[in-house]
Amino acid sequence: MYNKGTIIPGLMLFVLFVTFPIWFNVFTTAGELPKPESPPGGEKHCIASAEYMRANHMQLLNEWRDNVLRDGNREILEIDGVKYPKGLQLACLKCHSRKEKFCDSCHTYAAVQPYCWDCHLTPKEAGSKEATH
């Protein structure tokens, strides 16, 4: 083999780059699997199955958003006797009242930064300015 001096370091760099995730996870304290907190209020049912919500909640919220804002379709869903007005703040956060322990746990894990929170208030935020008045 010729030009070992450049080719071997080059190959090593390449292998390091490709295997970056392996040694990254070796040298960092790998984070835990996210455990989204169940609703503190003990609610057991959501508007759809957990599997469905995990995969599709963002699209459902988008759909709701258009329903509510654009189509004026603000029907309140009633499922198993529980009423759910369409809306992130109105429906989801009522049960999942701790965004930090619910939404964020997975979003952080998967490095997703939804811009929902630019407008929508978490119960914690909402609470922060309730007491002052």
């Binding site: 080059g10 190959l11 995730p21 790998a30 995990r54 599709n56 952080t108 998967a110 930064q113 939804p114």
Partner: protein, 343 residues
């Protein structure tokens, strides 16, 4: 019909993964075993190919000089196109690899009546190639968020730049790089069909990677935006982090589209070292680009130089022509033997 064959081949891969992933138990094959195998073949194959290349020496210094070389003080050297120092070579290689500088020079020739031949700059290929490769790179890096836990800050920022900063479209957000990759692949494929010259030289193994990468991009986008049944990013990341920490687990049902995507990527990884895709490694090792043009100033060594090859010797030459040389007054090493009649 070379592209039809490649298309069918990719389609077959999709169907294999689709059907396979639906057979209970085979998820482990498609989600764990094949990816492991693929990455090992990729790395092993890549190293093997590079080492194979490296086993052959570069016997001669053959840089393509694309500018004025270093000579006299008052002649300005083109340090990028005719480098003499290692740093200049590095700069040339950097621009070659990261800016596709040679392709930037591309021209298009036309024959006109006369005859008259004209040349115009033609940079669509350069642009599309940049778009394609950089989109691909960004996509690969971006996927690291699914392998790294915790996700480093810079990676999150990249995701933000790619997904949110440019276009806030849809949920989940549309990535600019997805569009870039698709656009690039479609252009490169269209070019193979439309450009006469390229169409004629294209082989099935030129179409295959294009279809494969197209299929990878499309399945990825389908999975992200449309076919979300059983696509829970947490489960998927759990599997992928498991893969890189060598404790792979599949804890929940994952949609077929994921297995198809992963299988296609595995196919690409396996295909890579044994195909023209190795240009990724080869571009670093092309002797016409990575050598300094200093062969008169510094002797380049050829390991198999054969010292036994000697010139037709001067002695032999003089022996043959000595008489004429002496007659013509050309100095000789050995004088002519005294002529017989003079004896």
């Amino acid at each position: 019909m070379k592209y039809a064959f490649s298309f069918v081949a990719v389609l077959a891969l999709v169907i294999i993964a689709w059907l396979g992933s639906m057979i209970p138990g085979l998820q482990y094959l498609f989600g764990i075993a094949i990816p492991y195998l693929a990455i090992m073949i990729f790395l092993g194959g890549f190293i093997y190919r590079v080492v194979q290349w490296a086993k052959s020496p570069v016997p001669f210094s053959i840089p393509t000089t694309c500018g004025q070389g270093k000579s006299l003080d008052f002649i300005k050297q083109d340090k990028l196109d005719c480098p003499t120092r290692a740093s200049e070579v590095a700069a040339r290689m950097f621009l070659e690899i990261f800016a596709f500088r040679s392709l930037f020079r591309n021209t298009k020739s036309e024959l006109h009546e006369g005859p008259k031949i004209t040349y115009e700059s033609s940079r669509w290929l350069w642009l599309a190639a940049l778009l394609f490769h950089y989109s691909f790179l960004i996509i690969v890096i971006r996927h690291m968020r699914l392998f790294l836990n915790p996700v480093p800050q810079w990676l999150q920022f990249l995701g933000f730049l790619d997904g949110g900063a440019m276009l806030q479209v849809g949920a989940p957000l549309l990535y600019a790089s997805s569009l870039g990759l698709l656009g690039g692949v479609v252009f490169l494929f269209g070019r193979r069909l439309v450009n006469r010259n390229v169409r004629y030289i294209s082989l099935a193994n030129d179409y295959f990677p294009l279809f494969l990468i197209f299929a990878i991009a499309v399945t990825g986008m389908l999975m992200r935006y449309f076919l979300r049944t059983n696509i829970d990013i947490v489960t998927i990341k759990e599997l992928l982090v498991g893969l890189v920490t060598l404790h792979p687990v599949i804890n929940a049902e994952i949609g077929s589209i994921f297995y198809i995507h992963v299988f296609l990527v595995s196919a690409l990884l396996v295909y890579f070292p044994f195909s023209k895709l190795m240009h990724m490694g080869g571009v670093f090792m092309s002797p016409t680009r990575n050598m300094p043009n200093n062969s008169r100033a510094k002797r380049h060594i050829n390991p198999w130089n054969d010292p036994t090859i000697k010139p037709h010797s001067y002695a032999g030459y003089e022996d043959e022509f000595r008489e004429f040389m002496v007659d013509a007054g050309i100095p000789v090493e050995k004088e002519l033997p005294p002529r017989k009649d003079e004896e």
